[in-house]
Amino acid sequence: MGRATVLLEVSSLTTTYQGLVAVHEASIDVAQGEIVVVAGANGAGKSTLLKSIAGMERLRSGKVTFAGERIDGLAAHLVTKRGIAFVPENRRLFPRLSVADNLRLGSYLFRGEADREAPIERVFTLFPRLRERLEQRADTLSGGEQQMLAIARALMTRPKLLMLDEPSQGIAPKLVDEIFEAILATRSAGVTVLLVEQRLLESLEIADRGFILQTGKVILSGPANELRDNAQVRMAYLGM
Protein backbone atom coordinates (compact mmCIF):
# COMPACT_ATOMS: atom_id res chain seq x y z
CA MET A 1 0.00 0.00 0.00
CA GLY A 2 2.96 2.29 0.50
CA ARG A 3 1.43 3.98 3.48
CA ALA A 4 2.92 7.01 5.13
CA THR A 5 4.64 6.93 8.53
CA VAL A 6 2.88 5.10 11.33
CA LEU A 7 1.58 7.55 13.93
CA LEU A 8 -0.03 5.17 16.40
CA GLU A 9 0.83 1.54 16.89
CA VAL A 10 -0.97 -0.65 19.38
CA SER A 11 0.49 -4.12 19.74
CA SER A 12 -1.01 -7.08 21.58
CA LEU A 13 -2.93 -4.86 23.94
CA THR A 14 -4.87 -6.62 26.69
CA THR A 15 -7.04 -4.70 29.14
CA THR A 16 -9.35 -6.03 31.80
CA TYR A 17 -12.45 -4.19 32.84
CA GLN A 18 -14.07 -5.10 36.16
CA GLY A 19 -12.19 -8.37 36.22
CA LEU A 20 -13.16 -9.42 32.70
CA VAL A 21 -10.92 -9.29 29.67
CA ALA A 22 -12.35 -6.45 27.58
CA VAL A 23 -9.61 -6.21 24.98
CA HIS A 24 -7.57 -9.27 24.15
CA GLU A 25 -4.20 -9.06 22.38
CA ALA A 26 -5.51 -6.41 20.01
CA SER A 27 -3.12 -4.84 17.51
CA ILE A 28 -4.03 -1.85 15.43
CA ASP A 29 -2.08 0.86 13.68
CA VAL A 30 -2.92 4.28 12.35
CA ALA A 31 -0.80 6.10 9.79
CA GLN A 32 -0.28 9.82 9.64
CA GLY A 33 -3.22 11.51 7.93
CA GLU A 34 -5.55 8.53 7.95
CA ILE A 35 -9.09 8.11 9.18
CA VAL A 36 -9.29 4.68 10.76
CA VAL A 37 -12.50 3.19 12.09
CA VAL A 38 -12.79 0.53 14.76
CA ALA A 39 -16.14 -1.20 14.60
CA GLY A 40 -17.88 -4.03 16.37
CA ALA A 41 -20.96 -4.91 18.37
CA ASN A 42 -21.76 -3.55 21.82
CA GLY A 43 -19.31 -4.86 24.37
CA ALA A 44 -16.72 -5.80 21.76
CA GLY A 45 -14.16 -3.72 23.63
CA LYS A 46 -14.04 -0.67 21.36
CA SER A 47 -14.39 1.92 24.11
CA THR A 48 -11.95 0.11 26.37
CA LEU A 49 -9.43 0.07 23.53
CA LEU A 50 -9.64 3.87 23.11
CA LYS A 51 -9.55 4.46 26.88
CA SER A 52 -6.47 2.25 27.13
CA ILE A 53 -4.69 4.30 24.47
CA ALA A 54 -5.78 7.52 26.22
CA GLY A 55 -4.29 6.39 29.53
CA MET A 56 -7.69 6.15 31.21
CA GLU A 57 -7.57 2.38 31.63
CA ARG A 58 -4.54 0.49 32.80
CA LEU A 59 -3.19 -2.09 30.36
CA ARG A 60 -2.75 -5.68 31.45
CA SER A 61 -0.14 -6.21 28.73
CA GLY A 62 0.93 -4.97 25.34
CA LYS A 63 2.37 -1.70 24.23
CA VAL A 64 1.27 1.56 22.66
CA THR A 65 3.66 3.64 20.57
CA PHE A 66 2.76 7.14 19.46
CA ALA A 67 4.93 9.22 17.16
CA GLY A 68 7.78 6.81 17.81
CA GLU A 69 7.57 6.86 21.61
CA ARG A 70 6.03 4.46 24.12
CA ILE A 71 2.99 6.03 25.78
CA ASP A 72 1.48 3.06 27.61
CA GLY A 73 1.65 3.66 31.35
CA LEU A 74 1.56 7.44 30.96
CA ALA A 75 -1.04 9.31 33.01
CA ALA A 76 -3.98 10.45 30.89
CA HIS A 77 -3.12 14.16 31.06
CA LEU A 78 0.36 13.40 29.71
CA VAL A 79 -1.11 11.45 26.79
CA THR A 80 -3.13 14.56 25.94
CA LYS A 81 0.06 16.59 26.16
CA ARG A 82 1.79 14.25 23.70
CA GLY A 83 -0.86 15.08 21.10
CA ILE A 84 -3.73 12.62 21.47
CA ALA A 85 -7.12 14.22 22.01
CA PHE A 86 -9.86 11.88 23.16
CA VAL A 87 -13.59 12.49 22.96
CA PRO A 88 -15.08 9.73 25.12
CA GLU A 89 -18.47 8.15 24.66
CA ASN A 90 -20.26 10.32 27.20
CA ARG A 91 -18.36 13.42 26.02
CA ARG A 92 -17.33 14.46 29.54
CA LEU A 93 -17.90 18.18 29.03
CA PHE A 94 -17.83 20.46 32.05
CA PRO A 95 -21.63 20.80 32.21
CA ARG A 96 -22.05 23.88 34.38
CA LEU A 97 -19.33 25.86 32.69
CA SER A 98 -20.04 27.95 29.62
CA VAL A 99 -19.24 26.89 26.08
CA ALA A 100 -16.52 29.55 26.08
CA ASP A 101 -14.99 28.18 29.29
CA ASN A 102 -15.06 24.63 27.96
CA LEU A 103 -13.20 25.80 24.84
CA ARG A 104 -10.78 27.86 26.85
CA LEU A 105 -9.99 24.85 29.01
CA GLY A 106 -9.21 23.03 25.78
CA SER A 107 -6.28 25.38 25.25
CA TYR A 108 -5.10 25.06 28.87
CA LEU A 109 -1.82 23.50 27.75
CA PHE A 110 -1.03 26.66 25.78
CA ARG A 111 -1.82 29.14 28.56
CA GLY A 112 0.50 32.07 28.62
CA GLU A 113 1.18 31.78 24.89
CA ALA A 114 0.19 34.64 22.62
CA ASP A 115 -1.44 32.38 20.01
CA ARG A 116 -3.21 30.29 22.60
CA GLU A 117 -6.59 30.61 20.89
CA ALA A 118 -5.20 29.97 17.40
CA PRO A 119 -7.34 26.91 16.58
CA ILE A 120 -10.57 28.68 17.55
CA GLU A 121 -11.34 30.08 14.09
CA ARG A 122 -11.03 26.65 12.52
CA VAL A 123 -13.27 25.25 15.23
CA PHE A 124 -15.90 27.92 14.53
CA THR A 125 -15.68 27.18 10.82
CA LEU A 126 -16.36 23.52 11.56
CA PHE A 127 -19.17 24.22 14.02
CA PRO A 128 -20.59 27.71 13.41
CA ARG A 129 -23.39 27.21 15.92
CA LEU A 130 -20.89 27.06 18.80
CA ARG A 131 -20.00 30.68 18.19
CA GLU A 132 -23.62 31.65 18.78
CA ARG A 133 -23.76 29.70 22.04
CA LEU A 134 -20.53 30.88 23.68
CA GLU A 135 -22.11 32.22 26.88
CA GLN A 136 -24.52 29.31 27.29
CA ARG A 137 -23.88 26.60 29.84
CA ALA A 138 -22.66 23.40 28.20
CA ASP A 139 -25.52 21.35 29.66
CA THR A 140 -28.11 23.54 27.96
CA LEU A 141 -26.88 22.46 24.51
CA SER A 142 -28.61 19.74 22.51
CA GLY A 143 -26.96 16.33 22.27
CA GLY A 144 -25.54 17.12 18.86
CA GLU A 145 -24.23 20.49 19.96
CA GLN A 146 -22.62 18.90 23.01
CA GLN A 147 -20.86 16.44 20.72
CA MET A 148 -19.66 19.36 18.59
CA LEU A 149 -18.39 21.14 21.68
CA ALA A 150 -16.60 17.99 22.84
CA ILE A 151 -14.86 17.66 19.48
CA ALA A 152 -14.12 21.39 19.45
CA ARG A 153 -12.62 21.24 22.95
CA ALA A 154 -10.48 18.29 21.84
CA LEU A 155 -9.26 20.24 18.79
CA MET A 156 -8.26 23.16 21.02
CA THR A 157 -5.58 20.89 22.53
CA ARG A 158 -3.97 20.89 19.03
CA PRO A 159 -3.81 17.12 18.65
CA LYS A 160 -1.88 15.08 16.13
CA LEU A 161 -4.43 12.32 16.64
CA LEU A 162 -8.13 12.77 17.41
CA MET A 163 -9.87 9.75 18.94
CA LEU A 164 -13.66 9.75 18.85
CA ASP A 165 -15.86 7.24 20.64
CA GLU A 166 -19.24 6.95 18.90
CA PRO A 167 -19.68 10.60 17.99
CA SER A 168 -23.03 9.84 16.34
CA GLN A 169 -24.60 8.27 19.40
CA GLY A 170 -27.91 9.78 20.47
CA ILE A 171 -27.77 12.57 17.91
CA ALA A 172 -30.31 13.82 15.37
CA PRO A 173 -29.53 12.42 11.87
CA LYS A 174 -28.99 15.87 10.39
CA LEU A 175 -26.31 16.65 12.94
CA VAL A 176 -24.65 13.27 12.37
CA ASP A 177 -23.91 14.35 8.79
CA GLU A 178 -22.46 17.59 10.09
CA ILE A 179 -20.22 15.71 12.48
CA PHE A 180 -18.99 13.28 9.82
CA GLU A 181 -18.24 16.23 7.57
CA ALA A 182 -16.34 17.85 10.41
CA ILE A 183 -14.28 14.68 10.81
CA LEU A 184 -13.34 14.81 7.12
CA ALA A 185 -12.49 18.50 7.39
CA THR A 186 -10.38 17.84 10.47
CA ARG A 187 -8.36 15.25 8.59
CA SER A 188 -7.92 17.71 5.72
CA ALA A 189 -6.46 20.12 8.27
CA GLY A 190 -3.78 17.55 9.04
CA VAL A 191 -5.20 15.76 12.07
CA THR A 192 -5.23 11.96 12.01
CA VAL A 193 -8.49 10.38 13.19
CA LEU A 194 -9.23 7.14 15.03
CA LEU A 195 -12.96 6.59 15.16
CA VAL A 196 -15.06 4.07 17.03
CA GLU A 197 -18.52 3.73 15.52
CA GLN A 198 -21.59 1.55 15.47
CA ARG A 199 -22.71 3.14 12.22
CA LEU A 200 -20.35 1.01 10.21
CA LEU A 201 -21.55 1.85 6.72
CA GLU A 202 -21.34 5.63 7.15
CA SER A 203 -18.01 5.45 8.89
CA LEU A 204 -16.50 3.15 6.26
CA GLU A 205 -17.51 5.78 3.72
CA ILE A 206 -15.26 8.38 5.29
CA ALA A 207 -12.56 6.02 6.60
CA ASP A 208 -9.41 4.81 4.86
CA ARG A 209 -9.11 1.60 6.80
CA GLY A 210 -11.00 -0.31 9.45
CA PHE A 211 -10.63 -2.89 12.17
CA ILE A 212 -13.47 -5.13 13.28
CA LEU A 213 -13.48 -6.14 16.95
CA GLN A 214 -15.37 -9.07 18.36
CA THR A 215 -15.28 -9.97 22.06
CA GLY A 216 -12.08 -8.02 22.50
CA LYS A 217 -10.20 -9.44 19.52
CA VAL A 218 -9.44 -7.97 16.13
CA ILE A 219 -11.09 -10.43 13.77
CA LEU A 220 -10.81 -8.50 10.53
CA SER A 221 -8.97 -5.51 9.17
CA GLY A 222 -8.29 -3.87 5.87
CA PRO A 223 -9.00 -0.93 3.59
CA ALA A 224 -12.47 0.54 4.07
CA ASN A 225 -13.76 -0.40 0.63
CA GLU A 226 -12.69 -4.02 1.07
CA LEU A 227 -14.43 -4.23 4.42
CA ARG A 228 -17.53 -2.70 2.90
CA ASP A 229 -17.59 -5.43 0.26
CA ASN A 230 -16.67 -8.23 2.63
CA ALA A 231 -19.52 -10.75 2.78
CA GLN A 232 -18.95 -11.53 6.46
CA VAL A 233 -19.05 -7.85 7.40
CA ARG A 234 -22.15 -7.26 5.30
CA MET A 235 -23.91 -10.16 6.99
CA ALA A 236 -22.90 -9.41 10.54
CA TYR A 237 -22.84 -5.64 10.72
CA LEU A 238 -24.61 -4.14 7.76
CA GLY A 239 -27.58 -6.50 7.69
CA MET A 240 -27.27 -7.15 3.97
Binding site: A54, G55, M56, A75, A76, H77, V79, T80, K81, A85, F86, V87, P88, R92, L93, F94, P95, R96, L97, D101, R104, L105, G106, Y108, L109, R111, R153, A154, M156, T157
Partner: protein
Protein backbone atom coordinates in the same frame (compact mmCIF):
# COMPACT_ATOMS: atom_id res chain seq x y z
CA UNK B 1 -32.00 48.66 73.61
CA UNK B 2 -30.57 51.79 72.07
CA UNK B 3 -29.92 52.11 68.37
CA UNK B 4 -26.28 52.50 69.24
CA UNK B 5 -26.35 49.25 71.17
CA UNK B 6 -27.92 47.47 68.22
CA UNK B 7 -25.31 48.90 65.86
CA UNK B 8 -22.61 47.69 68.22
CA UNK B 9 -24.01 44.14 68.21
CA UNK B 10 -24.33 44.11 64.42
CA UNK B 11 -20.83 45.50 63.91
CA UNK B 12 -19.24 42.99 66.27
CA UNK B 13 -21.26 40.19 64.70
CA UNK B 14 -20.27 41.20 61.19
CA UNK B 15 -16.57 41.40 62.04
CA UNK B 16 -16.62 37.97 63.68
CA UNK B 17 -18.74 36.69 60.81
CA UNK B 18 -16.10 37.74 58.30
CA UNK B 19 -13.56 35.61 60.19
CA UNK B 20 -15.97 32.66 60.30
CA UNK B 21 -16.52 33.07 56.58
CA UNK B 22 -12.79 32.96 55.94
CA UNK B 23 -12.41 29.73 57.91
CA UNK B 24 -15.43 28.19 56.21
CA UNK B 25 -14.29 29.24 52.72
CA UNK B 26 -11.24 26.98 52.89
CA UNK B 27 -13.36 24.07 54.08
CA UNK B 28 -15.96 24.67 51.39
CA UNK B 29 -13.34 25.00 48.67
CA UNK B 30 -11.85 21.61 49.49
CA UNK B 31 -15.27 20.00 49.85
CA UNK B 32 -16.51 21.41 46.55
CA UNK B 33 -13.37 20.30 44.77
CA UNK B 34 -13.32 16.69 45.83
CA UNK B 35 -16.20 15.90 48.20
CA UNK B 36 -13.84 15.53 51.13
CA UNK B 37 -14.64 17.18 54.45
CA UNK B 38 -11.44 18.23 56.13
CA UNK B 39 -11.98 17.31 59.76
CA UNK B 40 -8.51 18.62 60.54
CA UNK B 41 -9.56 22.14 59.56
CA UNK B 42 -9.64 23.37 63.17
CA UNK B 43 -6.13 22.03 63.66
CA UNK B 44 -4.98 23.90 60.55
CA UNK B 45 -6.31 27.06 62.23
CA UNK B 46 -4.51 26.18 65.46
CA UNK B 47 -1.23 25.57 63.61
CA UNK B 48 -1.53 28.92 61.85
CA UNK B 49 -2.00 30.64 65.22
CA UNK B 50 1.04 28.88 66.71
CA UNK B 51 3.04 29.70 63.58
CA UNK B 52 2.18 33.37 64.03
CA UNK B 53 3.10 33.17 67.70
CA UNK B 54 6.38 31.42 66.87
CA UNK B 55 7.39 33.99 64.28
CA UNK B 56 6.53 36.86 66.62
CA UNK B 57 8.56 35.32 69.46
CA UNK B 58 11.51 34.45 67.24
CA UNK B 59 11.76 37.65 65.22
CA UNK B 60 9.89 40.27 67.27
CA UNK B 61 8.01 41.15 64.09
CA UNK B 62 4.53 42.54 64.44
CA UNK B 63 2.05 39.63 63.94
CA UNK B 64 0.54 41.61 61.08
CA UNK B 65 3.84 41.37 59.22
CA UNK B 66 4.18 37.68 60.10
CA UNK B 67 0.90 36.90 58.32
CA UNK B 68 2.29 36.48 54.77
CA UNK B 69 4.87 33.97 56.04
CA UNK B 70 2.20 32.04 57.92
CA UNK B 71 -0.14 31.99 54.93
CA UNK B 72 2.66 30.74 52.67
CA UNK B 73 3.59 28.01 55.13
CA UNK B 74 -0.05 26.95 55.45
CA UNK B 75 -0.32 26.70 51.67
CA UNK B 76 2.64 24.33 51.63
CA UNK B 77 1.16 22.35 54.53
CA UNK B 78 -2.18 21.97 52.73
CA UNK B 79 -0.56 20.69 49.55
CA UNK B 80 1.64 18.36 51.59
CA UNK B 81 -1.37 16.93 53.44
CA UNK B 82 -3.01 16.19 50.10
CA UNK B 83 0.00 14.31 48.76
CA UNK B 84 0.86 12.57 52.04
CA UNK B 85 -2.61 11.56 53.24
CA UNK B 86 -5.65 12.47 51.16
CA UNK B 87 -4.44 11.16 47.81
CA UNK B 88 -3.93 7.74 49.36
CA UNK B 89 -7.23 7.84 51.23
CA UNK B 90 -8.99 8.50 47.92
CA UNK B 91 -7.64 5.28 46.47
CA UNK B 92 -9.63 3.21 48.97
CA UNK B 93 -11.43 0.38 47.23
CA UNK B 94 -14.30 0.12 49.73
CA UNK B 95 -16.05 2.53 52.12
CA UNK B 96 -14.23 5.44 50.55
CA UNK B 97 -16.36 8.01 52.39
CA UNK B 98 -15.51 6.51 55.78
CA UNK B 99 -11.84 6.18 54.89
CA UNK B 100 -11.72 9.88 54.05
CA UNK B 101 -13.56 10.88 57.23
CA UNK B 102 -11.20 8.89 59.42
CA UNK B 103 -8.13 9.98 57.47
CA UNK B 104 -8.80 13.68 58.10
CA UNK B 105 -10.30 13.13 61.57
CA UNK B 106 -7.27 11.09 62.58
CA UNK B 107 -5.00 13.72 61.11
CA UNK B 108 -6.73 16.33 63.28
CA UNK B 109 -6.29 14.29 66.44
CA UNK B 110 -2.66 13.61 65.54
CA UNK B 111 -1.89 17.28 64.96
CA UNK B 112 -3.58 18.21 68.24
CA UNK B 113 -1.64 15.53 70.09
CA UNK B 114 1.62 16.71 68.60
CA UNK B 115 0.73 20.28 69.55
CA UNK B 116 0.04 19.22 73.16
CA UNK B 117 3.43 17.53 73.21
CA UNK B 118 5.51 20.16 71.45
CA UNK B 119 3.81 23.39 72.51
CA UNK B 120 2.40 22.11 75.86
CA UNK B 121 -1.25 22.80 76.75
CA UNK B 122 -0.33 26.25 78.15
CA UNK B 123 -2.30 29.20 76.89
CA UNK B 124 -0.24 31.72 74.95
CA UNK B 125 -1.04 35.13 73.64
CA UNK B 126 0.57 37.82 71.56
CA UNK B 127 0.53 41.25 73.14
CA UNK B 128 2.99 43.05 70.95
CA UNK B 129 0.86 43.99 67.98
CA UNK B 130 0.42 47.70 67.36
CA UNK B 131 -3.25 46.85 66.85
CA UNK B 132 -3.68 45.21 70.24
CA UNK B 133 -5.97 46.95 72.67
CA UNK B 134 -6.89 49.76 70.29
CA UNK B 135 -10.37 50.53 69.12
CA UNK B 136 -11.95 52.68 66.50
CA UNK B 137 -14.74 54.86 67.84
CA UNK B 138 -17.41 55.16 65.17
CA UNK B 139 -19.94 57.51 66.72
CA UNK B 140 -20.21 55.49 69.90
CA UNK B 141 -19.80 52.12 68.20
CA UNK B 142 -16.46 50.67 69.23
CA UNK B 143 -14.60 48.45 66.79
CA UNK B 144 -11.48 46.73 68.13
CA UNK B 145 -8.68 47.26 65.63
CA UNK B 146 -7.52 43.59 65.51
CA UNK B 147 -11.03 42.45 64.58
CA UNK B 148 -11.40 45.33 62.14
CA UNK B 149 -8.11 44.31 60.53
CA UNK B 150 -9.35 40.71 60.36
CA UNK B 151 -12.58 41.77 58.69
CA UNK B 152 -10.71 43.87 56.17
CA UNK B 153 -8.33 41.02 55.38
CA UNK B 154 -11.28 38.67 54.99
CA UNK B 155 -12.95 41.03 52.50
CA UNK B 156 -9.72 41.33 50.54
CA UNK B 157 -9.33 37.55 50.56
CA UNK B 158 -12.80 37.04 49.11
CA UNK B 159 -12.13 39.61 46.39
CA UNK B 160 -8.86 37.83 45.55
CA UNK B 161 -10.61 34.47 45.63
CA UNK B 162 -13.29 35.73 43.27
CA UNK B 163 -10.61 36.99 40.92
CA UNK B 164 -8.67 33.71 41.06
CA UNK B 165 -11.73 31.54 40.40
CA UNK B 166 -13.36 33.65 37.73
CA UNK B 167 -10.43 35.16 35.91
CA UNK B 168 -7.45 32.82 35.98
CA UNK B 169 -6.61 29.55 34.27
CA UNK B 170 -6.01 27.98 37.66
CA UNK B 171 -9.53 29.02 38.71
CA UNK B 172 -11.01 27.56 35.54
CA UNK B 173 -9.06 24.34 36.14
CA UNK B 174 -10.43 24.32 39.70
CA UNK B 175 -14.01 24.71 38.45
CA UNK B 176 -13.52 22.05 35.78
CA UNK B 177 -12.07 19.64 38.33
CA UNK B 178 -14.99 20.11 40.67
CA UNK B 179 -17.34 19.47 37.75
CA UNK B 180 -15.62 16.26 36.61
CA UNK B 181 -12.22 15.37 38.01
CA UNK B 182 -11.99 12.38 35.71
CA UNK B 183 -12.35 14.55 32.60
CA UNK B 184 -9.73 17.25 33.13
CA UNK B 185 -7.01 14.95 31.78
CA UNK B 186 -8.77 15.27 28.41
CA UNK B 187 -7.53 18.86 28.22
CA UNK B 188 -4.13 18.03 29.70
CA UNK B 189 -4.79 19.04 33.31
CA UNK B 190 -3.24 16.91 36.08
CA UNK B 191 -6.05 16.52 38.61
CA UNK B 192 -3.62 15.67 41.40
CA UNK B 193 -1.93 19.01 40.90
CA UNK B 194 -5.28 20.81 41.04
CA UNK B 195 -6.28 18.88 44.17
CA UNK B 196 -2.97 19.72 45.86
CA UNK B 197 -3.27 23.41 44.95
CA UNK B 198 -6.89 23.34 46.17
CA UNK B 199 -5.77 21.96 49.52
CA UNK B 200 -3.01 24.54 49.59
CA UNK B 201 -5.47 27.35 48.89
CA UNK B 202 -7.95 26.02 51.48
CA UNK B 203 -5.23 25.84 54.12
CA UNK B 204 -3.92 29.28 53.14
CA UNK B 205 -7.40 30.77 53.70
CA UNK B 206 -7.65 29.30 57.17
CA UNK B 207 -4.06 30.49 57.63
CA UNK B 208 -5.15 34.08 57.02
CA UNK B 209 -7.84 33.66 59.67
CA UNK B 210 -5.37 32.09 62.10
CA UNK B 211 -2.75 34.77 61.71
CA UNK B 212 -5.33 37.45 62.55
CA UNK B 213 -6.96 35.53 65.38
CA UNK B 214 -3.56 35.01 66.99
CA UNK B 215 -3.64 38.72 67.80
CA UNK B 216 -6.82 38.62 69.87
CA UNK B 217 -7.30 35.01 70.99
CA UNK B 218 -5.49 32.79 73.42
CA UNK B 219 -3.48 30.19 71.58
CA UNK B 220 -3.62 26.58 72.80
CA UNK B 221 -3.82 23.12 71.19
CA UNK B 222 -7.63 22.93 71.34
CA UNK B 223 -8.31 26.46 70.11
CA UNK B 224 -9.38 25.30 66.65
CA UNK B 225 -12.12 22.89 67.68
CA UNK B 226 -15.02 25.30 68.37
CA UNK B 227 -14.16 27.32 65.26
CA UNK B 228 -14.11 24.19 63.12
CA UNK B 229 -17.58 23.29 64.42
CA UNK B 230 -18.87 26.73 63.49
CA UNK B 231 -17.20 26.32 60.09
CA UNK B 232 -19.03 23.03 59.42
CA UNK B 233 -22.33 24.71 60.25
CA UNK B 234 -21.38 27.69 58.06
CA UNK B 235 -20.51 25.46 55.11
CA UNK B 236 -23.79 23.56 55.44
CA UNK B 237 -25.72 26.84 55.75
CA UNK B 238 -24.09 28.44 52.76
CA UNK B 239 -24.41 25.34 50.62
CA UNK B 240 -21.76 22.64 50.45
CA UNK B 241 -18.97 23.65 48.14
CA UNK B 242 -20.22 27.20 47.58
CA UNK B 243 -17.41 29.56 48.54
CA UNK B 244 -19.50 32.70 48.35
CA UNK B 245 -22.32 30.91 50.13
CA UNK B 246 -19.78 30.47 52.93
CA UNK B 247 -19.27 34.25 52.97
CA UNK B 248 -23.00 34.96 53.31
CA UNK B 249 -23.48 32.18 55.85
CA UNK B 250 -20.43 33.31 57.85
CA UNK B 251 -21.89 36.80 58.17
CA UNK B 252 -25.25 35.36 59.18
CA UNK B 253 -23.65 33.13 61.81
CA UNK B 254 -21.63 36.04 63.20
CA UNK B 255 -24.70 38.26 63.54
CA UNK B 256 -26.91 35.52 64.99
CA UNK B 257 -24.20 34.68 67.48
CA UNK B 258 -23.85 38.29 68.58
CA UNK B 259 -27.63 38.70 68.94
CA UNK B 260 -28.15 35.48 70.88
CA UNK B 261 -25.24 36.31 73.16
CA UNK B 262 -27.03 39.56 73.97
CA UNK B 263 -30.65 38.52 74.33
CA UNK B 264 -30.02 35.06 75.81
CA UNK B 265 -26.65 35.00 77.49
CA UNK B 266 -23.05 34.81 76.25
CA UNK B 267 -22.87 31.13 77.19
CA UNK B 268 -25.94 30.46 75.01
CA UNK B 269 -24.57 32.01 71.82
CA UNK B 270 -24.18 28.59 70.15
CA UNK B 271 -27.90 27.92 70.60
CA UNK B 272 -28.85 30.69 68.20
CA UNK B 273 -26.41 29.38 65.58
CA UNK B 274 -27.78 25.89 65.90
CA UNK B 275 -31.40 27.11 65.62
CA UNK B 276 -30.76 29.07 62.44
CA UNK B 277 -28.93 26.05 61.08
CA UNK B 278 -31.92 23.79 61.74
CA UNK B 279 -34.33 26.27 60.18
CA UNK B 280 -32.28 26.58 56.99
CA UNK B 281 -31.53 22.88 56.71
CA UNK B 282 -35.18 21.90 57.21
CA UNK B 283 -36.49 24.48 54.79
CA UNK B 284 -33.69 24.41 52.25
CA UNK B 285 -31.52 21.30 52.67
CA UNK B 286 -29.02 22.30 50.03
CA UNK B 287 -28.16 25.45 51.98
CA UNK B 288 -28.60 29.09 51.04
CA UNK B 289 -26.46 28.99 47.90
CA UNK B 290 -25.93 25.29 47.33
CA UNK B 291 -26.59 23.71 44.00
CA UNK B 292 -26.21 20.09 44.95
Amino acid sequence: MTLQGLAQILASGLLMGLIYALIAAGLSLIFGLMDVVNFAHGEFLMLAMYATFGIVVATALDPVLAAPLVVGAMFVLGAFVYFAVIRHAMRAKANIGMVQVFATFGLGITIRGLAQHVFTPDYRSIQTSFLAGRTLDLGGVFLPLPQLFGGLLSCLSFVALYFIIRRTDFGRALEATREDAGAVALVGIDKNRVFALGWGLGAALVGIAGSVMAIFYYIHPDVGTPFALIAYVTVALGGFGSIFGALAAGLLVGIVEAISATILSPSMKAVGIYLIYLVVVFMRPRGLFGNL
